[in-house]
Amino acid sequence: MADHVDDRIETSARRVGLLQLFKVFFKIGATSLGGGSAGWMHLVMVTQLNWLSEEEFVAGVAIAQVLPGVNTTNITVYFGHRLGGWTGALAALCGFLSGPFFVAVLTAVIYHDLLRLPGFDAAMLGVASVALGMVLRVALLSARRCIREVVPTLVMLSAFVSVGVLHWPLALTILILAPISIFAARPKKAARDA
């Protein structure tokens, strides 16, 4: 059972062993069906194991969201590092990805057999449509916030047209749009730190 950690400590003094990190993140990754892993990570790391405080977790998630890449792997790497340094991050990441990796390979192997199942194509179409609906919903939520201001709206439209219609390279699009968009979103003078 973990020792109680003072919630007010910003930098966690807690160190967790590599094997432990691997095992815990393996379990999270292997069971992360359909999304919602972040919630699961919170449950395990904050509530059950008491590795992190509430604030630490939320701050880490915010950073994970800001950085490119999937939130869940960023959270894994970030807290793996927090709890076990560079090797800890690696152990956590390997743990997290191993389960899904082998399921993916297995799925790819039986994919052609799956295709022969009557209705598989139709079922997959249904899954894809609903999955896209879920993505669409998130996109609309963000869009709602963007259209309040001119620059975000233009940036959003630019990203859509550039990548979705013109098929320009993603990296180039981001390299151009990100600085503009972040600069436009810069803190107002009064609120700026230091």
Binding site: G69, Y78, G119, A131, G133, M134
Partner: protein, 186 residues
């Protein structure tokens, strides 16, 4: 020799996508599809759609669609290379940032970065939806299903994704059988 080219191509496609995946896997579907289906012709449109659907049902992030593609192109080696290519770059970046976060910018700049990246993420997501939908042969039905999916989540945000996907699969199956029955009748 052809195999080497495929691996190199996989890496050159996936590494930039890893670093450009603003807001997660949803940002990469449009460029990934364009590369894999249109530019390289590795998969047919319907193949890609199937892999997309399957990737949403598998455990782990949607980025594992890269693993599926990698396996298709070059078995174990392809799958491993693809997985490393899609996950390591962003993870390495995250590690670097994690290492220097304490001495870094204050919270209000982080907010700016979040706020600045959000419209890009939104635009990319729309691109993904648009791109993948165009591949589907489902016509109006697929669009309706998609809209119902989005609307259901709007009304009931707590719907478990797996149930929704299962419902979508069932609805689509029913629809296709209904279509087959009607044809038989005619």
């Amino acid at each position: 020799m052809r195999e080497d080219n495929v691996l190199i191509s996989l890496v050159s496609i996936l590494v930039p996508l890893s670093l450009g995946a603003i807001g997660g896997a949803s940002s990469i579907y449009a460029p990934l599809q364009h590369q894999v289906v249109s530019v390289h012709g590795w998969l047919t449109a319907s193949d890609f759609l199937d892999l997309f659907a399957v990737s949403r049902v598998m455990p782990g992030p949607g980025s594992f669609i890269a693993t599926l593609i990698g396996w298709r192109m070059n078995g174990w080696l392809g799958a491993i290379i693809a997985t490393l290519s899609i996950f390591l770059p962003s993870s390495a970046l995250c590690l670097i940032v994690a290492g220097m976060w304490e001495r870094s910018l204050g919270p209000s700049w982080r907010k700016s970065v979040e706020k600045g990246l959000m419209p890009i993420g939104a635009g990319l997501m729309f691109a993904g939806v648009y791109g993948v939908m165009r591949l589907s042969s489902g016509g109006v039905f697929a669009w309706i299903l998609m809209i119902i999916g989005a609307a259901s989540l709007a009304l009931r945000p707590k719907f478990h994704p797996l149930w929704m996907l299962a419902a979508g699969a069932a609805a689509s199956l029913l629809w296709s059988y209904a279509g087959a029955l009607l044809h038989v009748g005619a």
